[in-house]
């Protein structure tokens, strides 16, 4: 029988882009709150206060995988019955909790009030709360709100919501000046590598969003070119455009090809000559190729399926197929932003099975009948698939590990090769 909730629709977008099958059904992904786990490490003086339920608090500590017990810079203001029954004024309660947080952490530069499913449903106006509290704590801490509710955001979309909320806070770029703004959380080591490459190309000034500290909020204006480091930042990109910036179209900096295309977009925008560009890139590319060769031997010809999760699926599939020789069985993504994925889709092989959305049990059925050599999935699904004899890669590792750029291309491939290598090693 066909369950009424499940639907699979195919769309043919015309031109040569792959056909996308849309699925609606049970989804199996984190909500946007999961992004707090890496965002709070990146912005070193930021605190993330989720206004939500015990589930939110439990999710955060479980998604962190291990409990990071250095005093965390995130917490949950757990709604209780008296808040819902109207016995306690939610706004007064929120002010009290914010006061508690700021008492404990006088060193904060930015406090994020993060909306959740319950706070959305009870229509708690966090924008207004942020405005009110900003007046109270003016000059001491910046207070910004965004929603990471699972009703609206899927996993990495939480970062998009957070960065979008930062855009109005960015100081204006003076008229007549230009700048390059790289948007998307990158590990510090990768950020520094890209910084050196941009400097070699003579591209400057370059700034990164999110910044490491509140004091380093980068300027934004009509002279700003925006380069997305992550493929899930559509709303943030559009917010930058609304302030007059231009969005550079490029593949994402995964693998040699992606990184080259990404840097070239900036170089072209800056008028760097192809000869200068090629000369500057050559050593890094050669090194990356050497590193990648080892992993390619393990990956070439192997079949891979992606379950929809981190939104990195399409760029990673492109990398694994074109640079590592893997065969793509299915590439599923939680949602497809065609504008952001244009360059990536053009690089996917024609006829690849591309799925947008999810209907979990049917998807698992397909994985079982396809029996790919490796399946990329969420943490909750990995061990059950392993127990069925399928090798897996947890997608959350892809957002916690330095994987962007030339010098991480081999590391990225190694993440996928390791389960296969391990499988070949074990004799138990």
């Amino acid at each position: 029988m066909t369950a009424p909730r499940a639907a699979r629709r195919d769309s043919a977008p015309g031109n040569d882009l792959p056909v996308v099958a849309r699925e609606r059904g049970q989804r199996h992904v984190f909500c946007g709150l999961a992004g707090i786990v890496w965002l709070h490490r990146k912005i070193q003086d930021a605190f993330f206060l989720v206004i939500g339920s015990r589930t939110c608090a439990h999710l955060l500590q479980s998604a962190a995988g291990v409990m990071i017990f250095a005093e965390p810079r995130f917490a949950t203001a757990i709604l209780q019955e008296r808040d819902l029954a109207g016995l306690a004024d939610c706004n007064q309660e929120l002010d009290r909790v914010v006061g508690e947080v700021l008492d404990r952490r006088p060193d904060l530069g930015t406090l994020f009030l993060v909306g959740s499913c319950p706070s959305e449903v009870i229509k708690l106006d966090l924008a207004k709360a942020a405005e009110r509290l900003s007046v109270v704590y003016r000059g001491r801490v910046r207070i910004i709100d965004y929603s990471a509710s699972g009703l609206e955001t899927t996993f990495t979309q939480g970062e998009d919501a957070c960065l979008k909320a930062l855009v109005p806070e960015l100081p204006p770029l003076p008229q007549g000046e230009r700048s390059l703004l790289v948007v998307g959380t990158l590990p510090d080591v990768v950020e520094d590598q890209f910084g050196r490459l941009f400097a070699e190309l003579g591209i400057s000034p370059v700034s990164f969003l999110p910044p490491r500290h509140t004091a380093d909020f980068p300027p934004l204006g009509s002279g700003t070119s925006v380069l997305l480091a992550q493929p899930f930042l559509g709303e943030s990109a559009r917010a930058c455009l609304a302030r007059g910036a231009r969005l550079l179209s490029a593949p994402y900096p995964f693998g040699i090809e992606g990184t080259l295309g990404w840097l070239r977009a900036a170089a072209d925008d800056w008028g760097v000559s192809p000869a200068v560009f090629d000369a500057a890139m050559a050593p890094a590319v050669a090194r990356a190729e050497r590193g990648l060769a080892h992993q390619r031997a393990m990956l070439a010809g192997k079949r891979i399926s992606f379950l929809p999760d981190s939104q990195l699926e399409i760029p990673l599939a492109r990398f694994l197929h074109r640079e590592c020789g893997m065969e793509l069985v299915e590439v599923a993504t939680p949602y497809l932003d065609r504008q952001l994925m244009m360059d990536e889709l053009a690089l996917l092989p024609s006829g690849v099975r591309l799925t947008e959305g999810q209907d979990l049990d049917r998807q698992l059925d397909r994985v079982r009948s396809d029996r790919p050599d490796i399946t990329v999935c969420g943490l909750g699904l990995a061990n059950p698939l392993e127990a069925e004899g399928l090798r897996t890669k947890w997608s959350i590792e892809l957002v916690f590990t330095p994987v962007h750029g030339f010098d991480q291309a081999a590391d990225l491939a190694e993440l996928f090769a390791r389960p296969l290598r391990r499988d070949a090693l074990l004799r138990i």
Binding site: Q26, R54, L59, S62, L379
Partner: protein
């Protein structure tokens, strides 16, 4: 609103999932948005379960809030029923669904499925995980067994003389602390006195197994946090007595056998001798004299906390300096236990309070959950984990029960090993300036990690500084300060405070070496 950095318990629907995931043939439809699916990883990663918990989430989204969500519940129920063919269906709502009031349980009930459909009330803004597990198990037992309740006043048939007594073990669940091995150990214990285990539930049970529960002569309430409601109901409805002693520790195991003997009307005289535990002898051996009076702070679920306190006091010769629990529903048991050992109970689910109490008490050993393990690490105090919330390490590959005589062996090893061994402790006290045996060194068997010890020492400093600020009237002479450093780091904070208190009481302005030793004599430790 309650500011929460870390939480001991999840929301109540996690408790429901623990019960569902424990069983065969039971499926849970959970009305919840997509983010709530994170809960699967608790089972598949922490416990390394080889299959998803039997849960279908409706994963409603913002665009469906207008009115499609009820339809989504029905579709999910239909799909779950057709795909998984459960013999019992549980239907519950997580925190967000509770707010939109779709009455998921009633909707599912009205669909006329040919299997029992049990709606669960899981008030997410009032209750927590433990309560949710307890309630779900109770609703399952009650939902399935209600039609079989005998008429009021009818007592169960007496056990035929030729049949061995039968017991049900109730309460072990997925994500419980060492439940897997406790069940094996308690079954072995019961077998040793001629009692057969009839049904173990929820862990590993099917709905048909639950229907067989009334055939046993009595129930063992192995984990009151998850089974006390069910046991109570079975006692009232089926006249099945409950064995309430939880056999953790030598004394409790003997008491447990005693209670089993009384309830089953059998002689258990021979079995009480702890004949297969080494723990009593190990504890009496001279090497263990260094355990005497070690100051222990205990914080856990109520059952494990109370059991640990008794073992510490009676079986290891420790001094219980604090005991507490996050399980408010069972706070009474822990209060009684605290009273018995003359300490102030700590009933809280705020880990910051636990941390504050720990740094105030300066125990030499912490027994707690994974949260206390982290607190202890920060404070540089040895620690052993005795209770949920669990971590992947709490599912060891080896057999490691907490209950019964073998459990007592396991407890001896795991609680004693983190401590500095006898002679090592003496040497450190004697040769304070020794470059290898300095006070920031870890116990040698825990490996050469002086850095951890040092940072632990540093973590203690703020506590010391506060104590100093509080007693600003007295000052420390440099020689006294120097002497203080020779006291082992794990009791130094306490020595400092005691000395300052003593100086204040005596009206001493400057603390000298003499004052330090006078205070030591005064407090007698």
């Amino acid at each position: 609103m309650q500011l929460t950095l870390w939480t001991y318990e999840g929301p109540p629907h996690i408790g429901a999932m623990r019960v569902a995931a424990s069983m065969q043939g039971v499926h849970l439809v959970l009305h919840a948005p997509q983010g709530d699916t994170y809960a699967d990883l608790l089972f598949t990663m922490i416990e390394r379960r080889d299959r998803r918990p039997p849960v279908t989430y409706t994963t409603f989204q913002a665009r469906e809030l207008g009115g499609d969500t009820a339809q989504l519940v029905k579709a999910s129920v239909t799909e779950a029923y057709e795909r998984f063919s459960p013999r019992v269906l549980l239907v519950g709502e997580a925190c967000t669904a509770e707010l939109i009031q779709d009455q998921a349980g009633a909707l599912a009930r009205g669909m006329g499925l040919p299997i029992p459909v049990l709606p669960l009330e899981l008030p997410a803004y009032v209750r927590k995980e433990g309560w949710g597990a307890n309630e779900t198990f109770y609703q399952l037992i009650r939902g399935l067994l209600k039609p079989r309740v005998p008429d009021a006043g009818r007592r169960p048939e007496p056990r035929p003389a030729e049949r061995r007594p039968r017991a049900n073990l109730l309460g072990p669940t997925a994500l419980g602390f060492r439940c897997r091995d406790d069940v094996t150990e308690v079954s072995r214990l019961l077998a040793s006195v001629g009692v057969d285990v009839h049904v173990v539930a929820p862990l590993g049970a099917s709905p048909e197994d639950l229907l067989r529960i009334p055939e046993a002569d009595f129930n063992v309430c192995l984990y009151p946090e998850t089974a006390d409601q069910a046991c109570h109901w079975l006692e009232r409805m089926f006249g099945q007595p409950t064995v309430k002693t939880v056999p953790i520790g030598i004394g409790a195991t003997r008491d447990f056998l005693q209670e089993v003997g009384r309830v089953a009307e059998i002689d258990v005289g021979d079995a009480k001798a702890a004949n297969w535990s080494r723990m009593p002898w190990y504890s009496r051996s001279v090497d263990s004299t260094y355990l005497t009076g070690k100051r222990v702070f205990i914080f856990a679920d109520a059952t494990h906390a109370a059991a640990a306190a008794r073992i510490c006091a009676e079986e290891l010769g420790f001094t219980v300096v604090g005991v507490g629990t996050y399980a408010r529903e069972f706070a009474r048991d822990v209060r009684a236990c605290a009273h018995r050992y003359g300490v102030e109970p700590l009933i809280t689910d705020d880990y910051l309070e636990v941390e504050a109490r720990a740094s105030e008490l300066q125990p030499e050993l912490m027994l707690g959950t994974q949260m206390e393990r982290h607190i202890a690490k920060r404070l540089g105090i040895p620690c052993a984990v005795i209770s949920a919330p669990v971590h992947v390490q709490d599912f060891p590959a080896r057999y490691a029960p907490q209950m019964g005589f073998e459990g007592a062996n396991v407890l001896f090893d795991t609680w004693v090993h983190p401590l500095m061994m006898g002679l090592e402790e003496h040497l450190i006290t004697m040769f304070r300036e020794d470059f290898e045996f300095h006070d920031a060194a870890m116990p040698s068997h825990l490996g050469p990690r002086p850095a951890a010890g040092r940072s632990a020492g540093a973590a203690l400093e703020p506590v010391d500084a506060q104590a100093q600020a509080g007693a600003s009237a007295t000052i420390w002479a440099p020689e006294a300060e120097q002497e203080l450093k020779k006291i082992p780091f794990f009791v130094r904070g306490k020595a400092r405070r005691n000395t300052e208190r003593f100086a204040e009481e005596q009206g001493i302005q400057t603390i000298t070496v003499e004052t330090l030793y006078d205070a030591k004599a005064h407090f007698g430790r």
